[in-house]
Assembly symmetry: C2
Homo-oligomer: 119 residues x 2
DNA sequence: ACTATTGTACTAAGCACTTAATACAATAGT
DNA sequence: ACTATTGTATTAAGTGCTTAGTACAATAGT
């Protein structure tokens, strides 16, 4: 993986998405080990605490598990992964419709926009 | 209108959306006058500068025009309003697809999600 | 038992942004 | 010409968040 960050958004948030995507797409398979905080921090050229914050968040979401001194691993609960994925997707959809409403576009029209952009 | 703000987001941003929606939906018709900075600030119970910032942004977008000491008015250029609306809508759509990709969902699947939520 | 490696907690510095206070500039309207 | 009202500029205070530095705690592995 290549760790590239934009300046306009917090690093830890981008770390979360980066790792999240890794898990949700299967790049980090269920049950597989995750490098240590310091190792990841070194790799991403980021302060260990920043990486720690990202990992803690992923853990709170249930994607990762910690084994104290034996490092972290991806959860083996594939249903959880799938479930979280659905939650996040659902949130995305709602945010989209809300955003469209904020500029005076109804749901019906919003759906048309989706289609238009795809074509 | 009722001015209600959440704490988790900057007030000026919410002001922008509020007013933006007013214009884009036609509540503030093209060419119509807009209350003064201070009047709006008083109405929304907000510091004048905060309102000023929001109005300045809307002006930068082209939605509003300023007449120096004769207050502001909504632009008469309806094409501009429509154009801006399209730009914002387009941005919303892109943000949606990007967000979905970030959690490992392709465009095809994203479209399915749109349909599912609607049903 | 030791030790290196793991995750974690605490603190502080830096930073950017939001909001507010205040003063200024210009002019419509009388 | 005057004056109240308009938008604007400048400055500062507050605030929260991000990041970093440092020290601590626990244990797997030898």
């Amino acid at each position: 993986m290549d760790w590239i960050f934009r300046k306009d958004r917090p690093i830890y948030a981008q770390l979360i998405e980066h790792l999240q995507r890794g898990v949700l797409t299967g790049a980090y398979p269920p049950g597989s080990a995750v490098p240590s905080v310091r190792a990841l921090a070194l790799e991403a050229e980021v302060n260990p605490n920043t990486m720690q914050k990202a990992l803690a968040e992923l853990e709170a979401q249930g994607l990762l598990r910690t084994h104290r001194t034996a490092g972290r691993s991806v959860t083996e609960d594939e249903e959880m992964i799938g479930g979280l994925k659905e939650n996040l997707a659902s949130a995305q959809v709602e945010a989209f419709f809300d955003g469209m409403k904020a500029i005076g576009i109804s749901e019906d029209e919003a759906v048309k926009w989706i289609r238009e952009v795809r074509n």
